[in-house]
């Protein structure tokens, strides 16, 4: 976004160009204002208009924080355009502020010259006080470097829904629909899908549906009228050229759920999902709970531990056990993961990472559970770890997790994060027939004279024997076991062998060779990412390459075991820069595994990387590029400065 749109200097106070390549809009309001809903519906209409897009819902941990407060502000950002979109955008072009607090919290992000749409009806003395404004910013000239379009949305909404006989309080609930109507007009979007959606949502309350539709239409009509008066312009964005096919929008939580269902089908197994409510992972439980016809059993357990233990119990009995949580919940599951590794049963563990440690930032994104995933267990307990790079990528990664778990008889951890879980993007609907099935095999009779439940196949995997199988009775457990019979065996040689065998099994899991997703396979700088940093890294590297920098983007899906060629690939670059939303965890793993001088670039503000900040850091490696300031290649571990100017 940052470089493709006209530069700020071109259009101070000129509003948006009539036909920009991409636009970033942020809807911000009180947590009770329905901003997530507004954003979600705007996303849908944008997708239906054929634009590529990325979204970033950013909301407080509190469900209904006290009205009007700064910490109660909920925002939804969408970046959409006629070209490929990789991130939700660095800085909004348009900020919709439903109250003073929303303006205060979000104004710093707005581009100079950007457009503010504000509801003057909410800029009351009381709300200004709550947002710690001494004077009304809409009136005191403090917003001079922006375009401001301020009018009484509250009043106009009340007017629009008057025929439906709602009280003021109920009428004001349609404020978000009025705003959405205006946004739909602004970006030339059809209203029909939203009408249909409202009718379906309020099926049993047709009055409420009609009131919301009236508000939506009134917002839309206001746009048309206001345009005539001058300050507001309609903006048209062409559809993004995309491969032909059927598309839909998908969030990471949806894609993980669908991928798990697909993975279970490809393994020809019923799926058992054990979960416990936790932000931001609960959405997976919610999605799967509605897919029972696919042979999915969902079990809301009494705690995180029971959720994983029940999943292991189901795997033991012959289903595909799955559990999901976020960092603190994963910590609770750790002992049971060890048992899954020891008893060598298939299990998929989804970790939707959030800011930590401890309760941390429940609704904000971070990648700080990498050590926990790779190293965080007692004993030598190797476990495959894979990471999704975007909401839609989570579908394939979930299938891959199911494949590894069932083919290698092992727990697998799938890493996503709060950003991927909540963010939406267009998704070309895949055809399930394009995926190679990997039917699970159950051992129903001994392979030789004797039943040997721990005798491994050529992949190092032990057989899966379901209780209920005649003549195959055996015992398993967490105590070290004999390398063939599985009976208790503490002997020194046996434990050495079993430790080696468990390690070798995971080390030798077949993972595809690492590719370079942008740029050459060797050169001056490789920017190596994993997980949800894909979007900003990709765009930043693309932009830097366009400026003549010899930089490549490598994005790693298989965190453990790593692709066999990754070490050689990295050694082909003079420098390796690893941006991640933690204090440098993947960098440490890369250094440890390959002895490469991986340099970290870290950020732990709970916000995704911005393209501009990555471009700036990449630029430091290139002194010789005209127009690039260049600068010192960082010598030591560096962390991006705190965004709020706090202690560094």
């Amino acid at each position: 976004m940052a470089t493709a749109a006209p530069s700020d200097a071109d259009r101070p106070h000129s509003g948006l160009p009539a036909s920009p390549e991409a636009v970033v809009v942020r809807f911000a309001g009180d947590s009770g204002d329905g901003m997530q809903l507004t954003g979600g519906q705007f996303t849908l209409s944008t997708a239906l208009a054929g634009n590529d897009l990325a979204t970033f819902p950013d909301f407080p941990a509190e469900i209904r924080a006290p009205q009007g407060t700064l910490f109660g502000v909920s925002a939804f950002q969408i970046n959409f355009g006629s070209r490929e979109i990789n991130t939700a955008g660095d800085a909004p072009d348009v900020l919709v502020a439903m109250n003073p607090a929303a303006l205060k919290v979000n104004i710093a992000a707005l581009k100079p010259g950007g457009l503010i749409i504000a509801d003057t009806g909410a800029f009351t003395k009381r709300n200004l006080d709550k947002a710690h404004y001494d004077a009304n910013p809409l009136e005191d000239g403090s917003l001079a470097k922006f375009d401001v379009l301020a009018f009484d949305i509250s009043e106009k909404t009340i007017e629009a829904v008057k025929p439906f006989g709602l009280g003021n309080k109920d009428a004001l609930r349609s404020k978000n629909m009025w705003t959405l109507g205006l946004a739909l007009w602004m970006f030339d979007r059809p209203r029909d899908p939203i009408h249909d959606w409202l009718k379906a949502k309020f099926k049993s309350k047709p009055d409420i549906a009609d009131a919301n539709i009236a508000a939506l239409d009134a917002g839309h009509a206001y746009g048309e009228t206001a345009e005539l008066a001058g300050p507001l312009k309609q903006v048209h964005i062409d559809p993004t050229p995309s491969a032909p096919g059927l598309y839909r929008t998908v969030t990471g939580a949806e894609a993980v759920s669908l991928g798990l269902v697909a993975g279970a089908q490809l393994a020809e197994l019923p799926m058992f999902f054990g979960g416990y409510p936790i932000t931001p992972a609960s959405a997976i439980l919610h999605h799967l709970a509605r897919l029972k016809e696919f042979g999915v059993t969902t079990f809301q357990a009494e705690d995180e531990i029971a959720a994983i233990c029940a999943a292991i119990g189901a795997s033991y009995a012959g289903q595909l056990g799955v559990t999901s949580s976020s960092g603190p919940g994963i910590a609770l599951k750790t002992e049971a993961i060890g048992l899954g590794i020891m008893t060598e049963l298939p299990l998929v563990i989804v970790n939707s990472q959030r800011g930590g440690p401890s309760t941390g930032l429940p609704t904000k994104t971070e990648q700080s559970d990498l050590y926990q995933a790779v190293y965080g267990r007692n004993g030598d307990a190797p476990m495959p770890v894979i990471a999704a790079r975007s909401p839609s990528d989570a579908f394939e990664v979930a299938i891959e997790a199911c494949r590894i778990a069932t083919q290698y008889m092992t727990p697998v951890m799938l890493l996503t994060d709060g950003y991927i879980a909540n963010a939406a993007e267009p998704w070309k609907v895949p055809n399930p027939a394009d995926f190679e099935p990997f039917p699970a095999q159950f051992l129903t009779e001994p392979r030789g004279e004797e039943l040997l439940p721990y005798k491994r196949d050529e992949k190092g995997a032990r057989p899966w024997i379901k209780p209920g199988t005649p003549g195959m009775m055996h015992r398993i457990g967490g105590i070290e076991k004999h390398e063939l019979t599985g009976n208790i065996d503490y002997s020194p040689d046996n434990h050495q062998r079993m430790t080696d065998l468990r390690k070798a099994k995971v080390d030798n899991i077949a993972v595809p060779d690492q590719d370079v997703c942008l740029g050459e396979t060797s050169g001056k700088l490789a920017v190596v990412g994993w997980g949800s940093t894909y979007g900003p890294i990709h765009r930043a590297v693309d932009n830097c390459r366009a400026n003549g920098m010899d930089v490549s983007h490598i994005h790693v899906r298989h965190i453990w075991p790593m692709p066999k060629n990754l070490g050689d690939l990295l050694r082909g670059f003079d420098h390796v820069l690893v941006p991640e939303m933690n204090t440098g965890q993947f960098k440490t793993v890369l250094r440890d595994q390959f002895l490469v001088d991986a340099q970290p670039l870290t950020k732990t503000s709970g916000q995704p990387f911005q393209i501009a900040e990555l471009e700036r850091e990449i630029g430091k490696f290139f002194d010789d590029i005209p127009g690039n300031e260049g600068g010192q290649v960082p010598a030591n571990d560096q962390q991006l400065p705190s965004t709020d100017g706090g202690a560094k």
Partner: protein
């Protein structure tokens, strides 16, 4: 759920080739034998039987039964068993836990498996001590128990397993002790109960809490100290010379003398296993002034968790097609045309 097929087996068929590693003289041996004696009488199929345990002396149990067995982690056996039962409701699951495993670290899971009513037999071996970790006081240890962790004597109040189970919503509560000849009958009744059947088994830890149950379990004078309950039979003990009656003024139980076998005249209660209030009183009956209530204290089945899960899945799936391609393309979609491609 299919009707279980009865299989003919002998006690020997239920013995594994594994060396039993409990201390010589441990009450666990007697319980193991009682279970191995009971299983053939039930017509149980070793291939369909699963013993699931947590951690502790009692939890080594699955290694010694020739069936399927899963020795899991401390306190969590009920959760593993719940997952296994939901994945395959036809499995005949026995849970083995202890006072530390089931009531301390695993108290939460025990509560939930009972309230959900997952169909399985839950045997809690209560020896009132942590045996495998060398003798610390457990949640059922009596006040004043001297142990390495409580050298001057414990001061926390013991948990009462059967009361915990009843409070958690258990619909079957049985009690027995390791060397009792009646234990197999309690196990059989538990097995016949469809739902979570909780059995507290007093077990003698001869190393760290030797003979702690001798006050009622010792053979000498047992008749006077044990009240073996039978459904539909009067609550009599001490050679039918004493019985349990309800004091209608205090609404509590009392011991009454029965002369010439006329228990009705003495007001002795007839045991009704479905009476939850009386079950509660029997469980709470203090030993000393009263005998120890043993046998089946409560048995009043209700629908099981797994049946409800199966029913819900059936209802939720009714009229729906499990078509993945359609599911992926659900919701509001749009088509980008170019070279023609059929929607999936």
């Amino acid at each position: 759920m299919n009707a279980p097929v009865k299989i003919e087996t002998t006690l020997k068929d239920w013995e594994t080739d594994q060396e039993v590693r409990w201390c010589p003289g441990c009450g666990d041996y007697a319980i193991l034998k009682a279970v191995q004696r009971t299983l053939p009488q039930l017509g149980a199929d070793p291939a369909n039987t699963v013993f699931i345990s947590g951690i502790g002396c009692s939890s080594r149990f699955p290694y010694y039964i020739e069936s399927y067995g899963f020795h899991t982690i401390h306190g969590r056996a009920p959760a593993f068993a719940t997952g296994a039962k939901l994945a395959n409701p036809d499995l005949d699951v026995w849970l083995v836990t202890g006072d530390g495993d089931g009531l301390s670290i695993g108290g939460n899971h025990l509560m939930h498996v009972l309230r959900r009513n997952v169909n399985m037999q839950i045997m809690l071996f209560n020896n009132e001590i942590y045996g495998l970790t060398k003798g610390q006081a457990s949640p059922t240890s009596r006040e004043g128990t001297k142990s390495p962790s409580t050298p001057i004597g414990s001061y926390d109040h013991p948990a009462r397993p059967a009361a915990f189970a009843l409070g958690s919503g258990a619909r079957f509560i049985g009690r027995g002790f390791d060397v009792s000849k009646h234990l197999p009958d309690v196990l059989k009744a538990a097995h016949a109960h469809k739902g979570a059947a909780f059995i507290e088994i007093f077990q003698n830890c001869i190393v760290y809490n030797k003979d702690v149950f001798n006050d009622f379990a010792a053979p000498k004078g047992a008749e006077d100290r044990q009240l073996w309950l039978e459904n539909g039979k009067p609550m009599l003990f001490a050679g039918d010379t004493k019985g349990i009656a309800l004091n209608r003024e205090t609404l509590s139980l009392e011991v009454v003398d029965v002369t010439d076998g006329d228990w009705e005249a003495a007001g002795v209660i007839v045991h009704d296993v479905t009476n939850r209030s009386v079950a509660h009183m029997l469980i709470e009956m203090p030993f000393g002034p009263f005998p120890m209530a043993l046998g089946v204290l409560y048995d009043d089945p209700r629908p099981t968790f797994e049946d409800a899960v199966i029913e819900e899945r059936k209802k939720a799936s009714e009229g729906k097609e499990a078509n993945l391609a359609k599911l992926l393309g659900k919701g509001q979609t749009w088509t980008v045309s170019g070279t023609a491609q059929d929607p999936v």
